[in-house]
Symmetry: C2
Subunit: 354 residues, 2 copies
Amino acid sequence: MFDKVQKIINDSNLDIVVFLDPVHLLWFAGFSGSTGALLIGNSGAVLGVDFRYHEIAEDLKAKNIDVYCAPTGNLLKNTLDYFSDEKVKRVGYLSSRNSQSQKEMLEKNLNAELVAIDEQIDFIRSIKNKNEITGLTESAKLNADLFKHIREIVKPGVSERDLAAEIISYAVKNGASKMAFEPIVASGKNASRPHASFTDKILQPGEPLTLDLGVCLDGWASDMTRTWVVPGKKPTESLEKVFDIVKNAKKEAEAHLFAGVSGHDLDTSARDVISKFGYGDFFGHSLGHGIGREVHEQPRLAQNSKDVMLEGMAITIEPGIYIKDKYGVRIEDSYIIFQKKVINLGIDVFSDFF
Amino acid sequence: MFDKVQKIINDSNLDIVVFLDPVHLLWFAGFSGSTGALLIGNSGAVLGVDFRYHEIAEDLKAKNIDVYCAPTGNLLKNTLDYFSDEKVKRVGYLSSRNSQSQKEMLEKNLNAELVAIDEQIDFIRSIKNKNEITGLTESAKLNADLFKHIREIVKPGVSERDLAAEIISYAVKNGASKMAFEPIVASGKNASRPHASFTDKILQPGEPLTLDLGVCLDGWASDMTRTWVVPGKKPTESLEKVFDIVKNAKKEAEAHLFAGVSGHDLDTSARDVISKFGYGDFFGHSLGHGIGREVHEQPRLAQNSKDVMLEGMAITIEPGIYIKDKYGVRIEDSYIIFQKKVINLGIDVFSDFF
């Protein structure tokens, strides 16, 4: 990662880059605390932390990042004084990750010109290296195991809340530090809400159950969605029809997925299938997104996206149809894009309806 | 809440206030989605949401907040156009919650003067009304039940990870939507890290186990810490001594806790006890913090705090001593401050060492 950040430093004529947000402390330094100041220059990097994280941060020392355990006071200023004797003039920072008050604090403490480097950082984060692909693959594998485990206990009489508790418990027991996002466990008409929370509702035979789950394993996110029928009754014909349309939309997008295709064209490929059957207005979100340290990253697969899929990108494809107060269906997998092939990270999880 | 925000509007001569961050959408509107634009003026309030949250947001309509389901596009601009025909000139916003790029977006779309109102909002959030106190009390009650449940299964041979899985599962099964923060389950020398994550370490008899847990119930956070001895062996004398010092430091702070005392003086009252026994350098964090929709809010109980405890505030007291690579002890409860009394929300949870 050093070389990529140093390229930004050189291209933008910066003295140093500053990261203050947890996502980028984790991404660059593997540091999982909530507070820290990471400074990167051409000569190296230092992570400044306070008392609460001294021991945790010192474990990182092997990874070519100097760790500075700052005294109580101004963490950024102390870390900067420790890092560099020279005056810094141009400093790269993240305008979308730092609040307005943090920006003012940076200006006051650094007394330097701040340069927003969000787009460059988002882009280099979107291209995963070998270790990052391994991390994402392991996270997706645990997530797939989670779906297989949960499938065994989906039956009438169980509540959405029971499933949610078992989901989180299984994930943590089997190595996750947490869920990558709050699990969506939505049955019956709750499934018509793309971002439903779980409720105390009891599962009924023949109704749809949407599970949108991801774990956080060693700091890597996963993301997968299945809509299954609760056993005990055949689903209605209209529900089955909607499921088939969503499944075909996903297949169509997968057929277009290769290095070089645009996020716009991928979105269109799936959206056209859904629109052809008259459900265009019921697919109100975009087709997918990048995934990595965060569950939503660059690139975006959407009508207004200008992103192009490149080798090393990790993305999701997740078409859906939502009929208000009736039901909903979404199917989602995650993929790694290589130069000559694409790998589906969730291929072995049951993806039919019932 | 309306009257309090409208007082800020009038005092600061604002036309409207804009909230874009999830915490304040939850605090003011009870909306639990990730994205929305909440505009509040003297004539009322509107919450603008996108397709994903239409149904969820419409459930809020009873609560005197107009819900606007915006078409795809610029959510803020569309919501503003819907809310007001008149030109807004001065707009209150949160400089610590909105990123620099969000601020630029606000400036571009509103074409108005932006006024940071962070301090005023933080202050009115720190004074809880009756409903908010009920919410915090219920959350603390579930958290206390969680501690009692976990105490039954703490024994040698169980891993920190096993406990973490059971903690989250119990909390969700019994009504929590999630943990208020990642559970700290730190045994033996891991307990020397104030913000340790749980590991695969197996509990050993006689070693300390620090549990710092909080649940999120109906959007209200709780926060409690206990350090217990793993059964099967007496703790060492030095560990027992440290426990007694922390316990006495907490008692001393509790004796000083009433409406009118300063956060600085509370911190000093506990810190003096710890320093008197020579452990001052091993209590490296501040004494406590406010709690509400978030686990860390105003006021602050710290050496550099200028906050004063007032009726309706909800706060934590959590002294600790951490001996690097050896062990650590922290004890924490949460309290509601009334005019003539203080209520400890975790009083009935076992708080002795063994």
